[in-house]
């Protein structure tokens, strides 16, 4: 059977949802960041697939920039985690709720 664009889109959606699960359930910030990577990667698959099926390079471009963005986010995210960890010696997000209301 023919693998069509919709297959890839569905796969992408499923992976995206897995990412959402991770984002919502992870309490360890580092692991939470993993989940955000999943989100971006799932979209990349779809971009590449669309690009392939339409014979258009724009999708690959988008995916390329998404990868770049993901990488930058890692840098900043880790930076933030390091400062937090230096102060509090944990990266548990439950400890971050001094501000509320």
């Amino acid at each position: 059977m023919e693998i069509g664009l919709n297959h890839y889109l569905v796969l992408s959606t499923i992976l995206f949802s897995i990412g959402l699960v991770g984002v919502m359930r992870r309490k360890n910030l580092l692991l939470l960041f993993f989940a955000t990577e999943i989100l971006l990667n799932s979209v990349n698959i779809a971009f590449a697939a669309i690009s392939h099926y339409y014979g258009d390079l724009t999708g690959q471009m988008f995916a390329f920039f998404v990868i770049a963005i993901a990488a930058s986010e890692v840098a900043v995210g880790l930076g933030l985690l390091i400062v937090w960890h230096k102060r509090h010696n944990n990266i548990d997000l439950d400890s971050m709720s001094t501000m509320k209301g």
Partner: protein
């Protein structure tokens, strides 16, 4: 003549203001003398006007200035002195002059002497405005003005709870009636386009009877208040809390007759609606009897006289209602004289008895107060309608008129009332001046009033005696403006039988009163006698329980309702709903702020939830798109 008109009108005002200047200062004679002198000036001016009218028959009509003018409404301060108003002016200025002079003596020791004269003169001014105005609005000014002065004077001794209560009661009750009056005025304006008597009455000739009836009714409601007709009568008896000169002037001679004056003044209106006239007459007859009955047993001389006034007002309304306007006015005049005299006499007695009002505690005062006794007796005779005193001429003619007009029930009632009148008048005369000197038991030391007070009263005495002789002159004068109906029985025999019969009936009543109350066995009632326990006595002494029921069923519910309105409705419903809305908004905030738990995980969940909601809406919409048209209709309602 205009100058005299203005003098007559404004001298009391000047007097009032003069006295007011001394208002906050200690008592000074001059504050009493000057207003009195100014009033006498006013009296003289009125007399000149009277002479002028008598001699020439010309009506003096001036328009001082515009008061209100807007749209089609034009109300000037216009004054008219015609035969009717000059009669009233004479009565008012004369009685008030007498009362003023009398009060100089009567109020001699009172702290509020200056204030008293200020109010009293202001009252005269208002009354003159009332009678001299040439339009309904001006009448209303006077109408309210006398009400105000009456309030000030009834509550003159403001430290007394009963006095201030009575003052407020009088004012408020009058206000209720004034509302009717006001509505009457509105009716007149919107139907005739003017409030000037002349124009209004002219225009009324062409109006529907229904509208005229309403006009007549509403104006009469106004009259009922001022003249204390049932059911707005209770204030008059309570008004006796005021100083006695006030009672004499306001609550006997002048103000209370304003209602009669109004009906007389509007005779052209009432002539068009005889049905209302009959109603007025019936009510008058009822009040005459009703008031007289209460006077029979009352133990307060001023109240007895007040009821008597009420009763006589009933007579006047009978006359006015039956179209005998000149008769009503004549009785008004005559009544003013003898009733004022009676009150002033009562004032002398009170003065002598340290403000004691219970006649049972007096008795035998005739010995020390001869002059007062003579005056009061004569006034009572006049009141009873014994020939040849004033009452005979004015009152009997009313009874005759009722007979002639074939209102036999009214006639009968009036006749009976005449007997009652005689009885209660002489009951108090007997109790006060005759019999045992019961006052000694209570340690009173009565003395006759000042000479000048007695002198001041003498004009009234003279008029009470001779007023009857002026009847024909008067008749000729006023019939120039009022319908000149003569009330003569067709048969001379019947006339004589009736007249003499009435006289004998009245005299018998007087004698019975003397027999019952002038003897030495009278004791101060202590509530034990058989009569006092009877139902009728209780009914009468409690004024048919009307004040009680007013208190119980009107005043108290009003007070309670007010409190409920305030505490329950205004605070707990109206205000609380406003606060409630604010509270709900604030409470929503307090409850939902937990959404912002500060936990990152929750925040992320909210975001995903938002997304899911958006997605589900998308799916729902996809389904709904099939029913797009219907939905669009609904949405257009939302303003989308």
């Amino acid at each position: 003549m205009e100058l005299y008109l203005y003098i007559a009108l404004f001298s009391p005002l000047v007097g009032s203001m003069f006295a007011a200047l001394y208002g906050a200062k200690p008592r000074t004679k001059i504050a009493g003398v000057v207003p009195s002198a100014l009033l006498i000036t006013s009296l003289i001016a009125s007399t000149i006007l009277l002479a002028h009218i008598l001699s020439t028959g010309e009506i003096v009509h001036v328009e001082m200035m515009t008061w209100m003018a807007t749209g089609n409404l034009y109300i000037p301060f216009g004054f008219i002195v015609d035969q009717v108003s000059v009669t009233m002016m004479m009565v008012v200025t004369l009685v008030s002059s007498v009362v003023h002079v009398y009060a100089i003596g009567y109020m001699d020791h009172d702290k509020g002497f200056n204030r008293f004269f200020s109010w009293l003169s202001a009252f005269v001014f208002s009354m003159l405005i009332l009678v001299m105005s040439d339009n309904f609005a001006g009448l209303f000014i006077g109408w309210e003005g006398v009400g105000l002065c009456s309030w000030g004077l009834i509550g003159f001794w403001y430290h007394k709870e009963s006095a201030t209560w009575a003052a407020n009661e009088a004012f408020i009750m009058n206000r209720i009636a004034d509302l009717g009056m006001l509505i009457g005025i509105f009716l007149v304006y919107w139907n005739t386009g003017t409030l000037q008597y002349e124009g209004a009455f002219a225009a009324m000739q062409n109006l529907d009877t229904e509208i005229l009836t309403w006009m007549g009714i509403f104006l009469f409601i106004g009259a009922m208040g001022k003249s204390a007709q049932f059911p707005l009568h209770t204030w008059l008896a309570d008004a006796m809390e005021g100083p006695t000169p006030v009672s004499a002037l306001i609550h006997a001679a002048t103000m209370v007759t304003a209602g009669v004056y109004l009906v007389v003044r509007s005779n052209e209106l009432y002539a068009l609606i005889p049905d209302v006239g009959v109603f007025i007459a019936s009510l008058g007859a009822f009040v005459a009897m009703f008031a007289a009955s209460m006077a029979l047993v009352n133990r307060d001389i001023k109240r007895v006289i007040a009821y008597s006034t009420l009763s006589q007002l009933g007579y006047m309304f009978v006359a006015a209602g039956l179209g005998a306007y000149w008769v009503a006015l004549f009785h008004l005049m005559a009544h003013a004289f003898f009733k004022a005299l009676l009150f002033l006499g009562a004032g002398n007695v009170m003065h002598a008895m340290d403000s004691e009002l219970d006649p049972f505690k007096m008795g035998g005062l005739g010995k020390t107060m001869k002059a007062s006794m003579v005056m009061m007796t004569l006034a009572s005779v006049a009141l009873a309608g014994i020939f040849p005193l004033a009452g005979f001429f004015s009152k009997d003619i009313i009874i005759e008129a009722a007979f002639v007009e074939h209102h036999f029930i009214i006639y009968t009632v009036l006749l009976l009332t005449a007997g009652l009148t005689a009885f209660y008048s002489f009951r108090i005369i007997a109790l006060i001046f005759h019999g045992e000197e019961r006052y000694k038991l209570f340690g009173f030391h009565p003395h006759e009033a000042y000479k000048f007070m007695l002198v001041a009263m003498s004009p009234l005495l003279i008029l009470a005696v001779i007023a009857g002789s002026l009847k024909m002159t008067y008749f000729e004068m006023v019939t120039a403006v009022l319908p000149a109906t003569e009330y003569h029985l067709h048969s001379v025999t019947t006339y004589w039988i009736m007249t003499i019969g009435t006289q004998i009936f009245v005299i018998l009543a007087i004698l019975y009163a003397y027999k019952k109350y002038a003897n030495s066995s009278i004791k101060v009632p202590d509530g034990t006698s058989k009569m006092e326990k009877s139902f009728v006595y209780k009914l009468l002494i409690n004024q048919y329980y009307i004040p009680y029921s007013y208190e119980q069923y009107l005043i108290r519910p009003y007070r309670e309702l007010s409190t409920i309105f305030w505490k329950q409705i205004d605070m707990k419903i109206v205000d609380a709903s406003v606060d409630g809305i604010a509270g709900i908004i604030y409470g929503t905030g307090e409850k939902t702020r937990a959404m912002q738990s500060g936990n990152l995980s929750t925040m992320l969940k909210w975001m995903v939830l938002g997304l899911v909601i958006l997605l589900s809406l998308a799916v729902v919409f996809g389904l709904a798109a099939r029913h797009f048209d219907e939905i669009k209709v609904i949405l257009s309602g939302l303003g989308v």
